[in-house]
């Protein structure tokens, strides 16, 4: 029965196969992804702003000797706050804090998720049971409220501490994915081979497993960064962020407290939100590009659908042309 099925299905499938092969090579020659370019450009602009912004800013972010609540003009590019702080300097300094918190927290989260997820999936057995339980607990305990509780219990918070808190509370979701991936990788032949060859578990994880998880890890790091930047903004907005430093979140906090909303000072509260959104958006776009690399279905399916539609459209056009030709003939 199955024999019949295969023999009958082979001939018509063949041309498509050839076609697909051609497409494959064409795609290899075109490795850059539009989403990646847009995301990477946006991200580098923001990073450049964080690096050079504070240098080119003319005013100290805490200098209040400026006119109060000026809309953006040529001296104060992004206007000033109700205390006379220059918004451009505030945004530039805030960019450093926010990005730093995001990157550190992202790194911590990825490290923890590797530590728990990969080891649980690779080692298995009782270790797996225990580590999975830890992951499960961290997954259930709600992150933001926990962060709020911890932050409120610690009186003086540096940016680094906030990053650590955000990193510790935000790794569980990634660990779940890593665990299942490591589990499936463990049973691949090349991993078994290196294990039988007598490689130590650490080396197997480091050399055979982690490189294969790299695209996934990158994606998780990017999400960790977004999560942390959003989290820091939220915490700072509540007044529980890094004490004494300027971040995009603290600007929003001051804007709310300073009545930016009721006084119509849009230049005070709009830029920080946009900045956070741009960072998040750029990272998400890069992540999209990575997703399409590791999950070929996401990339090929739309292309295939497009091909089918084009073929259909072509057939329709052909039919129309035929009909028109026939009509012409009939007229003649």
């Amino acid at each position: 029965m199955s024999d019949v099925a295969t023999t009958t299905s082979v001939p018509p499938a063949d041309p498509a196969e050839v076609d697909k092969g051609k497409d494959e090579t064409r795609r290899v020659r075109r490795p850059v992804n539009g989403k990646f370019i847009i995301g990477a450009t946006m991200l580098s602009l923001i990073v450049l702003f964080a690096i050079f912004g504070p240098i080119i800013a003319e005013f100290d972010p805490r200098n209040s000797n400026n006119p109060v609540l000026v809309p953006p003009d040529s001296t104060h590019w992004l206007g000033t706050t109700s205390l006379g702080y220059d918004m451009f300097s505030q945004m530039a300094t805030g960019a450093r804090t926010s990005l730093m918190v995001g990157i550190v927290a992202g790194l911590i989260a990825v490290t923890l998720s590797i530590l728990f997820g990969v080891i649980a999936g690779y080692v298995g057995g009782l270790t797996d049971e225990i580590l999975t339980l830890v992951i499960g607990v961290m997954l259930v305990i709600p992150g933001l409220p926990l962060t709020i509780v911890i932050s409120s219990l610690v009186p003086g918070r540096s940016g680094l501490l906030v990053a650590v808190i955000l990193g510790i509370t935000g790794w569980a979701g990634a660990a779940v994915v890593l665990r299942s991936q490591a589990q499936s990788l463990r049973n691949r032949d090349y991993v078994s081979a290196s294990r039988i060859a007598g490689e130590k578990p650490l080396r197997v994880i480091g050399v055979e497993i982690l490189p294969n998880l790299l695209p996934l890890l990158t994606g998780q790091f990017l999400f960790g960064v977004i999560f942390a930047i959003l989290g820091e903004a939220g915490l700072s907005y509540l007044g529980l962020g890094p004490t004494g430093s300027i971040s995009w979140g603290t600007i929003l906090n001051e804007a709310q407290a300073g009545g930016a909303l009721t006084r119509g000072a849009w230049w005070w509260f709009v830029p920080p939100g946009i900045a956070v959104a741009l960072v998040g958006c750029s990272l998400a776009l890069i992540n999209f590009a990575i997703d399409e690399v590791i999950n070929p279905k996401l990339r090929s399916a739309p292309l295939e659908a497009r091909r089918v539609r084009k073929a259909k459209a072509a057939a329709r056009a052909q039919k129309r042309a035929d009909r028109a030709a026939k009509r012409q003939e009939a007229k003649a």
């Binding site: 339980l133 499960g136 305990i141 709600p142 911890i150 939220g234 929003l252 998040g280």
Partner: protein, 329 residues
């Protein structure tokens, strides 16, 4: 049955861990947090007896051993005693939480359901229309997701409450017209009117996630053989899209929806603060600002419990609707 038993064990352990964390967290902190706190509070004014008591209860009686305190803590929990609030002295914490819960569940729950329905619908459509112009619009939903949701709330307030006075700035109902919650059509109307902006905030910031997840699952499902077969059979497009593809593509989203419902109580803390919405989130911030540790712990416990219960129910339902989940425990 084995599946359910196993899940039950995991949830029981998680519950124990969450409650213990709630107990140990204040005690694990470096230094003598109780002393620091009392010093900090006395700087801002006199420390009342109630506050001292609450702090001692939270950070533990220095004389009693950690173990005795732990046992005591559990005993109080079983009696349903979460302590007394300091900022609303002498109201018990349970009463405050009970009053705030319906607000959070009503508002965020409603908004989550709306957001899920809209997101799944649009995602189904976007997945179906793969390979067309829709593909280019899909990435822009990440912009919505990347917006800090409390900032969305601020912008909405700016446009719809300050620039144009269409909607109220803060609150859950009109406090000038009503002394407290009551059962009348006027009150329900007032609540709905006050809920428009907060609900819009939630929908704006969460719809993108549903849309994207559904769209990606839809794209992979549409590539499966059974969909091709359905197409080859000449079934109606609508039928293939809904009963063949979407039904299967929705599974992960349903799991996500269950989890999202769990976060209804504690997921939008900052948004509730922006709108001064009388829900659990605002209660938590009030507790934090007032150094009201009993209230803070109680709120945190309730938030964790809701997530736990929602996840458990989701797990059970998911086991029913997707047999594969039961297989690989």
């Amino acid at each position: 049955m084995r599946y359910i038993g196993r899940r039950l064990v995991i949830y029981a352990v998680t519950l124990w861990a969450a409650i213990s964390l709630n107990f140990f967290l204040p005690r694990l902190l470096p230094g003598d947090p109780a002393a620091i706190l009392i010093a900090k509070m006395s700087r801002n004014g006199d420390v009342t007896d109630a506050q001292l008591q609450s702090i001692r209860r939270l950070f533990g009686n220095p004389e009693a051993s950690l173990w005795t305190q732990y046992i005591e803590y559990w005993q109080q929990l079983f009696r349903g005693d979460l302590g007394t609030s300091v900022s609303f002295y002498p109201t018990p914490v349970t009463e405050l939480i009970g009053a705030a819960l319906p607000w959070s569940i009503g508002l965020v729950g409603m908004a989550t359901i709306i957001s899920f329905t809209v997101g799944i619908g649009l995602g189904m459509f976007a997945g179906w229309k793969r390979g067309t112009w829709v593909d280019h619009i899909v990435p822009s939903t990440t912009l919505l997701q990347s917006l800090p949701y409390f900032w969305v709330a601020m912008v909405l307030i700016y446009f719809f409450s300050v620039q144009n006075q269409w909607f109220p700035i803060i609150g859950g109902y009109n406090v000038f017209m009503f002394n407290g919650p009551e059962w009348s059509w006027d009150f329900v109307g007032s609540v709905a009117y006050h809920a428009v902006l907060p609900a819009t905030t939630i929908v704006i910031s969460s719809v993108g996630g549903w849309l994207l997840g559904m769209r990606n699952m839809m794209v992979s499902t549409l590539g499966e053989d059974f969909v091709v077969t359905a197409e080859a059979k000449g079934l109606k497009k609508r039928r293939i899209m809904t009963t063949y593809a979407a039904r299967n593509a929705m599974l992960p989203s349903i799991a996500g929806f269950g989890v999202a419902l769990g976060f209804v109580v504690g997921g939008f803390v900052v948004m509730e603060t922006v709108f001064s919405y009388p829900g659990i989130g605002k209660l938590m911030i009030t507790a934090v600002r007032g150094n009201d540790y009993a209230l803070m712990q109680g709120v945190f416990l309730v938030i964790t419990l809701t997530v736990l219960v929602a996840m458990f129910i989701t797990d059970m339902i998911y086991g029913l609707i997707d047999p594969r989940a039961r297989q690989n425990v």
